[in-house]
Symmetry: C2
């Protein structure tokens, strides 16, 4: 620390935050003003980073879970000297194309570890980062991987249910290098938090296996002491920092008036006078800026030392470490897939796609055993995504590569985002497809940030049978396909399963859903030279002669389409079958390819044990759809498809009706 | 209680549950066997009900949050003598069309208070029931409304994040008549819960304002004593009942082997022998059945006394009470809507639809002030769904009709389901449309059960501006439309807002989303004789001459379509504008009406600031779509629509391109 005192450095954050929001006439000044002391202590005394290499793999992570307070992070990035975060960027807060959007966006702004704003998720994603650190440290050693994960969380983060899933996991895993600074300002948008909450957070976190204490969030000495204690704890730590929202604003501080809107010229002036800072907008005194810039390079020596240690690791291990962090797949993977598909052609596998997925997982885990990180929200035996060789991860077995997340779908998917963002792993997580609803907010952030995670979603239709409509997805395929940058695959047999897995693993700029059946399916494919799933759809069975009808189907309904095609051919009606493992990927193809796959047959029938929503793009409003028009029902497999009229016969009749 | 001892009564549940699962070869015997003691104590000594009137308004509610243990509930309903729950129904467990589906379904089986299975939600829905009880008791008096809400919850319920939202609300509201029996068996599907959890639930609940204690869940005296203490508490109570899953099964009890599959003939036989019950499937000794049947009518006298008290309430108040419980709207409501729409025609309102919705809410609250129950997940000032006359609900002000739910979207929507199921209120809850992702599991259950709740979802597009892509819905309209029985309205002006609200309030067999803008919109409608929103879409502007183009639009884009229509008309291209407040409702119309609304104009353009997914059903795959093809961006309103090419000019150009 320099001779410039703490208060002046913290006030620099406050001034920039007030000015940024004021100029934008929009934003949240209250949090940056209230949390400036915590942030100053953390960034000037504790956070391990080097502004010259904000992506240094062994940096401490800092997650602003309360993403609405984005000006705190942008002000910090400017003050520590991130080259791209100029004062002009702060002036362009919340403007089109700036590096300073309303909420921090990972991949858009350097130094933003994860996209935050949807509350609860920063904290939950950070759990994944701390998890990845623990696993990677156990594998590559503390000399290479040894950093903390800090989170700044708000009341709202802790009210969101996902926070419970996250803190339960962090406590259970003893992620002692995770330290949460809770900006306990007692104010939310609607007013004092007491109108909606009376949880004792310290007690709650302790009940979940955390160390937890309350301090004065404006006392830099108390903050530093608490962080020091936290670093020594064998548990994750919550530091509840009692703060005043909008600290410094003489009339609005401590009220919800300073939460989500600009202070206004008058209050801004009064606040600056009160804090003793220049009225000039966006100005930081030279000595204060110098002190901040010095903080920005505090970690330079540590980083150099780390680089040296990395060099000493040995070229092979170093290359492996760096490859893993780049999310590059090992060369062995493509070969393994090729050999496996050849094997399938020689010895076809008739099995539920969740079971053929299990076989693929053995292939993948063989090629990349330490980076392939699977897990399930307490449905391991049903989701079939555990490799035989994988052992369970726990606090005591950090080299385990299978994670029992408990019944926490949202927490699982948020943690996977954090694991991916941290780097070093290809995470996949599993539950029933219907429970993507629980995890959807994290899946959306995955698509928005472009994290290459894989969701193994089994029991993908009414075909799961007896569990009934609460467990039978009907709208989920459609609802997931609607998310930009989300890829949804519903493979029809063992070969498609392998192909979809291969695409998913090589997709490192966005997430992939694999929708898999509970029930058995035959292997339909008889060749595997290229991977036609990459186009979303392809002709699986050609018509004999000019096609009068095309049957489009995905997953378990492809078998029915193939049977229907045969019956139709026997009746002299040339019919094609197009397998559609990914409807939205088909629609995203260049028009020429898309039209060629869809074809010109006058009769178009789509088959999918799910709602029609989205299929009209292929079959037209007047096309025939054989699928679900309601929720499902509890019944055995052998009754349920017939009950809902999803059969080969229905497809045959739909075509015959149109032919005559 | 009769002379038949507790154990034999509890074992009757165990026997039926084992037999039901065994016959179905599918299901969950472990929970009913483990929880049989709790259930027996509760149903024979505490639960206030009368099997002759399972819908008695002042009955205690019993929610089996652990819905996978459905055989517990079905066995209880049979034993207490619910006429429809015959022994044949138990034999038809999990079969097509039976009253005994895999998970309990409200509306399908009498005595099932809410649909459960998706974990965490039974508990959270029950919070809404207890909330409704408290509000209704304050309004109609303890003589009419005075009952408990009991929940049987599992490990999984408490691992799900929504449980935190629910228990925080229940603790804050001091819902002391809510009593949760936690089946603490330490086993989940994957194995011992210790592989994924180390939360001290008693401490956690206490931190949230609950009374909480641990007992032996197989000791009937301890269970009864704990429930008695809970009834006297001024807080909601958690009773953590330590149990053995699959109690009685000699080899599988206490393991995950008994969680989710049939015992198998051998273990079933051994379990029955161990418990000392008949090997004959589905048999209950006469004296045991008699004792259970006596328990079923235990509450008959109490119900008669209640009927007497209801009669003494006065005919007007009684009629009001009964109307409210039937979810019938007061006659004043339709009149108020009619008068309000007339007023709007005379004095048009140019305002954001969230603001015109606020005006409608004044109208509604005027007509039904005590049953219209609004609330917001901490965005009250942004969602604009608080009537001026409504005061905040709290433990001390139970007549308040506005609920500050805190930042708990999922908890809010689950509670609303419970409020509706309890009866007496028309609940609506608000947040930003993008955060429907957080609440989606409860919204799905609302659609599945058919609860008439209204979701006031503001900030419905990129039009919210600076908050950026984390807060801008693009796929949400489509994803919600895909849910069966969900109605989604996106009104374009103040009159449509009133019309959509009226439809939503009169829809008491399913939920409705109102998607509303942050930004201002002009009033476009000039007549309001009928309510054309009921068809999902209608011609807002007719073409002058035979239409060459039809512009379809919803919400904020209707204004643009109207402007484009004018420009096209000036260029001599007759164009219609069809306003589409509800796309899925349009598509559900009889073909003739749907075709008439869509029309035959050769050029079809759809405009919606959201993804195209679903619109092809109207415009065809080759139709022009002006909307979003990616996530949004952080920028002011005046820049953002132009940036994404969603403008009247874009619509004009799309038509011109096709005309030439």
């Amino acid at each position: 620390m320099t001779q410039v005192d703490h208060n002046r450095m913290a006030n620099a954050i406050r001034g920039l935050a007030m000015d940024g929001v004021e100029k934008a006439k929009s934003g949240h000044p209250g949090l940056p003003m209230g949390a400036a002391d915590m942030a100053t202590v953390l960034f000037t005394q504790f956070l391990k980073f080097d502004v010259a290499a904000l992506d240094w793999p062994d940096r401490d992570r800092f997650v602003l879970s309360a993403g609405h307070g984005s000006m705190l992070l942008y002000a910090l990035l400017h003050l520590i000297g991130s080259p791209e975060m100029t004062i002009d960027q702060l002036k362009d807060f919340r403007q089109l194309g700036s590096l300073t959007p309303g909420h921090p966006e990972h991949g858009h702004t350097k130094g933003v570890e994860t996209t935050t704003g949807p509350l609860g998720q920063g904290l939950s994603t950070a759990v994944g980062m701390a998890l990845a650190e623990k696993m990677l440290a156990a594998e590559f050693g503390k000399k290479i991987v040894d950093h903390h994960t800090y989170v700044l969380a708000s009341d709202g983060d802790l009210m969101e249910g996902v926070s419970q899933e996250a803190i339960a996991l962090a406590g259970h895993w003893k992620l002692n290098k995770m330290i949460v600074l809770y900006d306990d300002n007692g104010i939310s948008i609607d007013g004092p938090t007491s109108i909606a909450d009376s949880v004792d957070q310290v007690k709650r976190f302790k009940a979940c296996g955390w160390a937890a204490e309350k301090i004065d969030g404006h006392d830099p000495i108390a903050i530093a002491a608490a962080i020091t204690r936290a670093q020594k704890s064998n548990k994750p730590t919550l530091i509840a920092c009692r703060t005043t929202i909008g600290f410094g604003a003489p009339h609005k501080a401590g009220t919800n008036k300073v939460h989500g809107e600009a202070l206004g010229a008058e209050e801004l002036k009064a606040a600056k006078e009160n804090l003793g800072i220049s009225l000039e907008p966006f100005s930081v005194p030279d000595d204060v800026l110098k002190a901040w810039r010095a903080a920005g390079t505090r970690g330079a020596a540590a980083r150099q030392e780390w680089e040296t240690r990395l060099g000493e690791l040995g070229s092979r291990k170093r290359a492996e470490f760096e490859r893993r962090l780049r999310h590059e797949r090992p060369a062995a993977l493509a070969k393994a897939f090729k050999a496996y598909k050849k094997e399938l052609l020689e010895k076809p596998m008739n099995a539920a796609t969740r079971k053929s997925s299990e076989a693929v997982i053995e292939v993948i885990a063989g090629a990349m055993p330490m980076e392939f990180l699977a897990g399930s929200a307490d449905l391991t035996g049903s989701n079939n995504n555990k490799a035989k060789s994988a052992t369970a991860f726990s606090a005591k077995t950090p080299k385990g590569r299978f994670i029992h997340y408990g019944i926490r779908e949202f927490g699982m998917c948020a943690a996977m985002n954090g694991v991916f963002l941290h780097g070093g792993f290809a995470p996949n997580g599993a539950t029933f497809l219907v429970f993507t609803d629980y995890a959807r907010p994290a899946m959306r952030l995955a698509a928005l940030m472009g994290t290459g995670v894989v969701y193994v979603m089994t029991h993908d239709s009414i075909g799961l049978g007896e569990d009934g409509p609460t467990h039978q997805p009907v709208e989920h395929l459609s609802a997931l396909r609607a998310i930009p940058n989300m890829r949804v695959f519903r493979p029809c047999d063992a070969i498609e399963v392998a192909e979809c897995w291969e695409i998913a693993l090589n997709r490192t700029d966005g997430p992939t859903v694999l929708a898999l059946t509970r029930q058995n399916l035959p292997q339909l494919r008889t060749s595997a030279n290229e991977n036609p799933c990459q186009y979303g759809a392809y002709e699986l069975v050609a018509a004999q002669g000019e096609a009068k009808a095309t049957l489009f189907a995905s997953g378990s309904e492809v078998e029915m389409a193939v049977a229907a095609q045969k019956q139709l051919a026997e009746r002299g009606i040339p019919t094609r079958v197009v397998s559609v493992p990914s409807l939205e990927l088909l629609l995203a193809q260049p028009k020429e390819r898309r039209d060629a796959i869809i074809g010109n047959a006058p009769i178009k029938v789509a088959m999918e044990a799910a709602v029609r929503w989205g299929w009209d793009a292929v079959i037209g409003q007047d096309g025939e759809f054989i699928g679900m028009h309601s929720f499902g029902a509890s019944a055995p497999l052998n009754k349920i498809f017939k009950h809902f009229g999803i059969t080969a016969e229905a497809a045959v009749n739909a075509v015959l009706k149109r032919v005559s």
